[in-house]
Symmetry: C2
Subunit: 212 residues, 2 copies
């Protein structure tokens, strides 16, 4: 049998070839998220490469969030959607100093986008449900509110981006904000009216922005 290493005399990098093989394996066998992939030892044997090379490939995939390894069990394909992408941004690219202001601004814009999408996709029932929740819930949190907004927005990627920004924002700003229930209720009313302008006025008040 041809060794993997034979096929790339010039390329070198066994682990890259392993990635390629893995892709093929996944598509050929029709593996989906949650499915188990062969063990490291089996891959090592089937591809005629060392186990350490297999591991290098798998570790890289793991860092990308494409697979999940469970010691004693095996390695499984993960939910691919919207993944890491942004998370990696935050850890490596966001180190910028001046970025703090950007984070604040970006978060606000993203939240408004979320509101736009939610506005399009929520019906009166949904809005009423959220409204009830805002009214009744004990430990009301701003984050919780936007979690629901982004859930309604039905865009996983947007949600991920917002989540990262939120976390990052919290780690930057230590000022505990006061939440006024009526602001959120007013915003929800505006959404129920499908009045985008009014929604953003409400949001601006919520965030105490002079102008959006």
């Amino acid at each position: 049998m041809a060794k993997v290493s034979d096929s790339f005399v010039s390329n070198s990098k066994v682990y890259l070839e392993i990635l390629k093989q893995l892709r093929e394996m996944i598509t050929d066998d029709g593996l989906k998220q949650g499915d188990k992939i062969p063990s490291e030892r089996e891959l090592s044997e089937r591809l005629n490469v060392g186990r350490s090379s297999v591991r290098e490939a798998l570790r890289a995939l793991e860092l990308l969030g494409l697979i999940e390894t469970r010691r004693g069990e095996g390695t499984y394909l993960r939910d691919f959607r919207g993944n890491q992408l942004v998370q990696l941004l935050s850890t490596f690219i966001l180190q910028d100093e001046k970025a703090k202001l950007d984070v604040f601004e970006t978060k606000n814009f993203i939240e408004m986008d979320g509101l736009r999408l939610a506005l399009k996709r929520m019906d009166r029932l949904n809005i009423a449900a959220v409204k009830d929740w805002v009214t009744e819930s004990e430990g009301f949190q701003d984050d919780e509110f936007f979690y629901q907004i982004f859930e309604a927005a039905d865009n996983h990627l947007f949600f991920k981006i917002w989540e990262i920004l939120k976390d990052y924002y919290h780690s930057l700003s230590s000022s505990p904000v006061e939440y006024k229930r009526e602001d959120y209720l007013y915003l929800l009313d505006a959404m129920a009216d499908k009045d985008e302008m009014k929604v953003f006025l409400a949001y601006g008040q919520l965030r105490k922005l002079s102008s959006v």
Copy 2:
């Protein structure tokens, strides 16, 4: 000296800890792109971990395009600018349709946000300059246009997010779009008029959206 492995009895995953150490090392020593990082053997020794674990961490970073390894020479920091990542993800993700839609939608919203910011921060001179460029430039590209928009928007984070999404989008969709100069010029006119509504109508036409 404390072994790396001591500090995460519960976490496990040596290679993740190594990544953390590397980040610290990079910031503490003020390493920039192009700089050389310690050899695998030295890292292995300094952190009291096996060389294979070090390699797993480095391979992951390499796949992300954050470092570059040259056999016989060493390992060097690379330009952090995202991508790479995008290509990889796309080759693994081609399955999920919903994810594609999310990318498409998110990109559009981010671009509109960019336009909003640019609208606030560009003066007539800036707009005129871009307009000239659109009119005169030979190889006019949609990407180039938005590069300028985001530059004017003056939000580095937003720009980064957009850049990733753009690459990601390109890797998903193979349809080469036609660019009509007049659409961009019309959009710029709308910006000069400070007419946000008109700007988004123009953008919608640009992207051939039925509704934004």
